[in-house]
């Protein structure tokens, strides 16, 4: 009855067209920079299966996660329907499997309900994260899936009518059949209708197949390798620009995995919804950045004139967009496809830096880093100036063995607001009898932010000089109060020759409290306080608990903000943003964050654990006139306050 030949023919045609469409788009990957990650295949496969099976990232956005899970489950089940449709054509005696029939029928309902919810989400709820996404593509896809399912059900229904007997295994199709029977003048009419919907079903499947490579739903194919090949490096270790020293300047020079990232993007906008730059009204959305790169890649692949010659930095992506990023990692934390936005952005910044294209202020700051080793334009010998007001001498770790080498950092050394806190920490450690020393004039900026500005060479210089100085010291461990410094010391310096355990002062203080070395009395009397996870301590390095433990041990009533731990919201200073002009047009991230804390109600202290946070949030509180409601405290302040 069903022409197996014509089915085979159209299928081959459609599959060919789909493969052709996909291959054109994927061809540039062949000449991309090498980026194959061949390590630990089993663990990678396991991770991929877990990500799909548990939907961990997807479910962080509850409704969308559930919708995705439903569509995925229904889709997998309905694949059997497709198999069945083909079997029918090639094996005329094939009658289908009753056991699966029920599941298919229910899956159809599940699928249609999920699509209904998805439409409701997209058309009625319209979360802001969809802004800038291709809505038409999304609706076409939802429509096509609905068509596949509906034609299948109708085919079943007319089959039932033609058969003249209802099947207990197809409750939905049966119900449909009951409804449709009066419309059917004859059995043969029903048989024709069955044929029509059979072919409509096949056509919608094949149409979907052909449409797919040009759609964001291409992630159904490339998402698998993309998640499998995800970066397993620590988040705080920024990749270099691939094998070549120069950063990619054109889309065709991206590492091929970077191109795969672009095709994997589903435009879901989770990244956009958590991006502090986007929230501030700066011209950056991680989503549209990836989409713009993808469009340039597609244009290049399709041979659009000049597409391949547009420079990435300052062309495909505007310089203002690139400089807006705080490198807070929130986008990469949320992306269900494990797309690597931040390394891509930094690579493009590297190209800008190489061309000297940056604001005068940023340029002046980088010159300060080059000449003075810090952003404050302070001579090296003023580095230890903060110790002058201490009642004791801080040892020079290069001259005498110490338990801890304190890597102080720029803000903690030079910013008056922070230096006061630096002295607090020194006094606490002194009181606990900890032997610690500093590098005096040999310490330079660690280069964490310099690297993220895109100044790779300067980072290398700073790191090499710092490591040489550190290696002159006889110290067991290193500690710092600065999460940015911590990050590069922990994740990036080892590759350059640092062999020391590095801890944050919150961890050190907590250990000292636990071991009874730092004697303290709970200064808190149950005040409601909140704690802000610094990006580079929390999301980058997973250190969430020591600061919280200290706050509680000191007798404060800690209430987390809705965006806490790995969801923490960046203050806006990271990635070198603190050295650039603030062109926020909407609410500044730091002010947004203070309002979030205030919304908890009755919060008196905003506790931070990062020098830049002290500066940013002190200013934010003043800006929004909230000084009488809330105060910024560094963890170490809590030992004496209130």
């Amino acid at each position: 009855m069903i022409s197996a030949l014509s089915l085979a023919l159209v299928t081959l045609l459609a599959a060919g067209a789909a493969a052709w469409r996909a291959s054109i788009r994927l061809r540039p990957l062949l000449s991309g920079r090498p980026s194959l990650r061949k390590d630990v295949p089993v663990r990678r496969a396991g991770f991929l299966l877990r990500e799909i099976g548990l939907h961990r990232r997807l479910l962080r956005f509850r409704l969308s996660g559930i919708i995705h899970a439903a569509i995925l489950v229904a889709f997998v089940i309905l694949l059997s329907g497709i198999l069945q449709a083909y079997s029918k054509a090639f094996f005329p005696d094939f009658r289908g499997w009753d056991a699966i029939a029920v599941v298919q029928d229910l899956a159809a309902i599940l699928m249609l309900s999920a699509i209904g919810l998805a439409l409701y989400n997209r058309l009625v709820l319209r979360p802001a994260r969809f802004k800038g996404s291709n809505k038409r593509d999304a609706l076409v896809i939802l429509g096509m899936i609905s068509l596949i399912v509906l034609t299948m059900e109708l085919e079943f229904a007319f089959h039932i009518i033609a058969d003249g007997q209802n099947s207990p295994y197809r409750p939905v199709a049966g119900l449909l059949a009951t409804g449709l029977t009066p419309l059917m003048p004859s059995v043969s009419a029903a048989q024709i209708a069955e044929q029509v919907f059979y072919w409509a079903h096949i056509a919608s499947i094949l149409g979907f197949l052909v449409y797919l490579p040009g759609s964001k739903h291409f992630h159904m194919v490339v998402g698998f390798p993309n998640v499998y090949l995800r970066s397993r490096e620590p988040r705080g270790r920024l990749p270099t620009s691939g094998a070549e020293p120069a950063p990619p300047t054109r889309i065709t020079e991206l590492p091929w995995k970077g191109m795969l990232d672009l095709y994997s993007c589903t435009e879901c906008g989770r990244c956009q919804s958590v991006c502090p730059a986007y929230a501030a009204g700066l011209p950056l959305s991680p989503k549209t950045l990836i989409m713009d790169l993808r469009n340039n890649l597609v244009d290049t692949a399709l041979g659009t004139p000049a597409a391949a010659t547009i420079p990435l930095a300052g062309g495909v992506i505007s310089a203002e967009t690139l400089w807006a990023c705080t490198t807070c990692m929130a986008c990469m934390q949320e992306c269900p496809l494990h797309i690597e936005h931040v390394p891509r952005i930094v690579d493009m910044r590297r190209a800008l830096v190489d061309e000297g294209e940056m604001s005068p202020l940023l340029q002046a700051t980088l010159v300060n880093f080059q000449k003075y080793g810090n952003s404050f334009k302070k001579p090296a010998r003023q580095r230890p100036a903060w110790t002058k007001e201490l009642p004791f001498q801080v040892p020079d770790a290069r001259d005498e063995p110490v338990e801890y080498l304190w890597y102080v950092g720029d803000y903690a050394s030079f910013h008056p607001l922070v230096a006061e806190r630096t002295r607090n920490v020194a006094k606490l450690l002194h009181q606990a009898g900890v032997s610690f020393g500093i590098l005096y004039d040999r310490e330079k900026n660690s280069g964490n932010d310099v690297r993220r500005i895109g100044e790779e060479g300067l980072f290398q210089d700073l790191a090499e000089e710092n490591i040489a100085a550190i290696n002159e010291c006889d110290a067991q461990r290193i500690f710092t109060t600065d999460p940015h410094t911590l990050n590069t010391l922990v994740n990036e310096y080892p590759a350059l020759g640092l062999r020391k355990d590095v801890v944050h002062h919150t961890q050190l203080l907590h250990e000292l409290m636990r071991d009874g070395r730092l004697r303290f009395r709970p200064t808190g009397t149950g005040q409601r306080v909140t704690y802000h996870d610094p990006c580079y301590l929390g999301r980058y390095n997973g250190r969430y608990d020591a600061p919280r433990a200290i706050i509680r041990d000191l007798g404060f009533d800690l209430h987390d903000m809705p965006r806490c731990r790995e969801k923490s919201f960046c203050c806006g200073a990271g990635g070198g943003r603190i050295f650039m002009e603030d062109e926020s047009t909407l609410e500044r991230p730091s002010e947004n964050r203070i309002r979030e804390a205030l919304a908890l109600g009755d919060i008196s202290l905003f506790v931070v654990a990062c020098p830049k946070d002290i500066v940013m949030y002190t200013a934010a509180i003043e800006n929004i006139n909230a000084s009488d409601k809330i105060k910024v405290k560094e963890i170490s302040d809590l030992f004496a306050v209130v």
């Binding site: 980088l366 000449k371 001579p379 010998r381 100044e455 790779e456």
Partner: protein, 256 residues
């Protein structure tokens, strides 16, 4: 056309300068490229980019390789180190004969350097070098246009007065500011230059000139006016300033 840019390192006045026995403690002094020479290099490279030229960076050996490597990363075509025993505190007049001979040997059509240096109490290098070479000097330059046979130098004289002067080469130009701030050299380019830039060595026969002036002693400036310091807290300081304004009739007289 060959443009020789003379680069000198000088004590960085942004840093603390320590004195030893009434003279600068040169061992401790943080030496940096003279800011005006930085502009001179930028202007030379700009001129080259516009009109085509060979930019040769020239420095005393004591300036260190880094200065010359940076110049190469910034766009200089050649880097030349002048080999001669020169004391760190040698005056511009003393070193001018060396620079002049080097410029001749390098086939300079144009010698460009900073209009002044922060410690040149006995005169500046550009005019002394011009005198040694018997070439015309154009000081206070804020732009060099080499597109014509006779380059045109923009000079500024303060009070907003400026002039465009054409000059028959060879000549010496003292630069006070390049047309745009010195370009940024990324660390990567710098590292590349450190690895690849070859620094030529140049011997000169000329001897250091005598310096007829004599430095007796260096000291911190004697304060001339006695300043009254207001509060360091901005809120209080602002109140105090508004009060001063009121007293002096700068803003509306008193309340009401």
């Amino acid at each position: 056309m060959n443009i020789v840019v003379i680069l000198q390192t000088v004590p960085d006045s942004a840093e603390e300068l320590t004195l030893a026995d009434g003279v600068l403690d040169w061992d401790e002094a943080p030496l940096r490229l003279n800011e005006f020479d930085d502009h001179a290099l930028e202007e030379a490279v700009l001129a080259k980019e516009e009109a085509g030229a060979t930019v040769i960076a020239l420095a005393l050996e004591s300036a260190g390789d880094r200065v010359l490597q940076t110049a190469v990363a910034r766009g200089a075509d050649r880097a030349v180190k002048l080999i001669k025993e020169v004391p760190l505190d040698a005056s511009a007049r003393m070193v001018a004969p060396l620079m002049a001979e080097a410029a001749r040997k390098l086939g300079a059509d144009l010698v460009v350097t900073g209009v002044q240096a922060p410690g040149d109490i006995f005169g500046q290098l550009a005019p002394f070098t011009a005198a040694e070479l018997a070439w015309p000097l154009l000081g206070g330059a804020v732009g060099i246009d080499c597109s014509a046979d006779a380059p045109i130098v923009a000079q500024e004289f303060g009070g907003g007065r400026s002039a465009q002067i054409s000059v028959t080469l060879p000549a010496v130009v003292g630069v006070q500011a390049a047309r745009r701030p010195p370009r940024y050299v990324s660390g990567s380019k710098l590292r590349q230059a450190v690895q690849s830039a070859s620094i030529e060595k140049l011997d000169v026969a000329a001897e250091l000139a005598d310096e007829p002036g004599k430095l007796v002693t260096l000291h911190s400036p004697h304060k001339t006016t006695a300043i009254s310091f207001l509060d360091d807290d901005p809120v209080t300081a602002v109140d105090q300033i508004v009060e001063i304004f009121r007293q002096r009739g700068i803003v509306g007289g008193g309340r009401g």
